[in-house]
């Protein structure tokens, strides 16, 4: 699925990530931790082809990212759902159209009716917010909407960058539960977070590996939860 082999990434003359090798197996669940600025977001961006490794290899679904055109990477991204810290919505579109955006750009506009999205929006607890504009949403609502958008194409992999960063504990538990449910459906999930309480809370719900980025390296941060 996503495979990194002795991968390094430099930015502004300094090496941010170095010697990283990892295979994300289908159906696996990973937490990615590390201090702020350690490179968690960069790591995720490398995993969906938004950045190109300085050295080493990143393979998305068996294909070396460096051999892919931007359009080919865009096609592969349809198999990778991403949730960002800042969520990134189109502020002029109502929420249901934002959630349906991956379908729209993939040419499936016929499935993007509000009615077709009702079930998904209810699943993430946004059933009554379909016509709200993104700036009208709370932090938690935005995170859940981002998750809904990430999974609408039924991707094989979900990469979530601090999905609980802007929400209270209760909301972060709801989001975690949603991600665990997706994992049970066979999706590979990677959550970048510095919230150790969240990782501990996941213990009872899922078999997950905890990875830690420190000093430019990726390490296994202890026994499986």
């Amino acid at each position: 699925m996503i495979e990194l082999e002795n991968m390094a990434y430099s930015y502004g003359g300094g090496e941010l990530l170095s010697g990283i090798s990892l295979k994300l197996a289908p159906g696996s669940f990973h937490f990615l931790t590390g201090p702020s600025g350690a490179g968690k977001t960069t790591f995720l961006r490398l995993c969906y082809g938004d950045l190109t490794a300085t050295s080493g290899t990143v393979r998305l679904f068996g294909r070396d990212v460096r051999d892919l055109t931007r359009d080919q990477i865009a096609l592969l991204r349809r198999k990778i759902g991403t949730v960002h810290q800042d969520c990134q919505f189109l502020d002029h579109l109502p929420l249901y159209e934002n959630i349906a955006l991956p379908l729209t750009v993939a040419g499936h506009s016929e499935w993007t009716d509000e009615a077709n999205l009702k079930e998904l929006m209810q699943w993430v607890g946004l059933g009554n917010r379909a016509r709200a504009l993104p700036p009208e949403l709370s932090g938690g609502e935005r995170q859940r909407a981002a998750l809904a958008r990430a999974i609408i194409m039924s991707p094989d992999v979900i990469l979530a960058d601090e999905p609980t960063g802007n929400v209270d504990w209760e909301m972060s538990q709801r989001l975690l539960t949603l991600l665990v449910e997706l994992n049970r459906l066979g999706k590979t999930v990677v959550i970048a977070t510095h919230d150790l309480a969240l990782i501990r809370a996941a213990k009872s719900q899922v078999q997950a590996r905890v990875l830690r980025i420190a000093n430019r390296k990726l390490q296994l941060a202890g026994a499986d939860l």
Binding site: L75, R77, L93, T104, V105, A106, S109, R149
Partner: protein
């Protein structure tokens, strides 16, 4: 074929896809106005080009097919010399017909300069003979020599010295009209490129989100291309309509007005301006697509 398919796919799109780009009032107005103004100017350039083309043909044909013989002689000899000249013309190969202008016709010729009611009696006005050619025309030099020998007061004017500069000027004007059309198209392409580039730059965050959810560059470019092409078509149609009305309101061709009153379209030539809006849309399509693809290549 592939390029045509890509172009059609870019143009067709769907309503949902077009909504991904937020509406931007500034570039809408700029594109509509520039497309309208350029179409308006294009109608006039086209009218000028066609009118001058028509005039060049008209002047060329009319002047080439006719000549004038002027009889300047003492009053008592004018009639005899006129008859003699007509007899010479009757036996000149290449002359279809020849006739002496009546006093009224000569008066009419002088009216633009002297006004109505001019009496030619008492004025030393030469007698004019209109000669119409046929086939390859007559041998002007041979006719001049014959007239010199048989009609001493006759002077042949085959209009060559008038015709050449007039036809040349009309052809130059026609060329200028065509050049103006090309410049108008180029200016419109430049304006739309600027507007599209500005719109793309203003929407870099939108582009980032679209790429994040798997949009290919052709999809993103298409959303902008359709928008600008449609605006150019609407603006161009409005500008063309106003331009055609303005041309229709120009005075129709009249001999008194000379060249300036013939600046319109005639007959089916009124269909030509209708090509301006779709051509403007094609220019906008190409300009926006180029600008979009170039900008997208530069955006990470």
């Amino acid at each position: 074929m592939k390029a045509l398919k890509t172009a059609l796919a870019l143009l067709v799109g769907d309503a949902q896809s077009d909504r991904v780009v937020p509406p931007t009032g500034h570039t809408v107005r700029l594109t509509l106005f520039s497309a309208g103004a350029m179409a308006f100017l294009a109608v006039f350039a086209l009218a000028l080009s066609m009118a001058t083309g028509r005039l060049a043909s008209l002047w060329g044909d009319e002047l080439a097919r006719s000549s004038t013989i002027r009889i300047s002689a003492p009053e008592a000899q004018v009639a005899d010399q006129t008859d003699a000249a007509l007899k010479v013309l009757e036996t000149t190969p290449g002359v279809a017909s020849a006739r002496a202008l009546t006093t009224e016709e000569q008066q009419q010729l002088l009216e633009p300069w002297f006004g109505n009611g001019l009496s030619l009696e008492g004025l030393p006005v030469p007698q004019l003979i209109e000669v119409v050619e046929k086939g390859d025309g007559f041998d002007a030099e041979g006719l001049r020599l014959r007239l010199q020998a048989e009609v001493p007061g006759a002077t042949l004017d085959d209009h060559t010295r008038w015709r050449r500069p007039l036809v040349k000027a009309a052809r130059s004007l026609r060329l200028l009209g065509a050049l103006s059309l090309i410049l108008i198209g180029g200016t419109m392409a430049a304006l739309i490129t600027l507007a599209a580039t500005a719109a793309l730059a203003a929407n870099s965050q939108v582009i980032r989100v679209l790429r994040l959810v798997g949009a290919q560059d052709s999809y993103i470019a298409g959303a902008f291309v359709r928008r600008f092409t449609l605006r150019a078509l609407i603006g161009g149609a409005a500008g063309t309509a106003v331009g055609m009305i303005a041309v229709a309101l120009l005075p129709s061709a009249q001999p008194e007005g000379g060249f300036l009153t013939g600046l319109g379209f005639e007959g089916w030539h009124w269909l030509w301006p209708l090509l301006i809006p779709p051509l403007g849309a094609v220019v906008a399509f190409v300009a926006t697509r180029e600008a979009a693809m170039r900008t997208l290549r530069g955006l990470r």
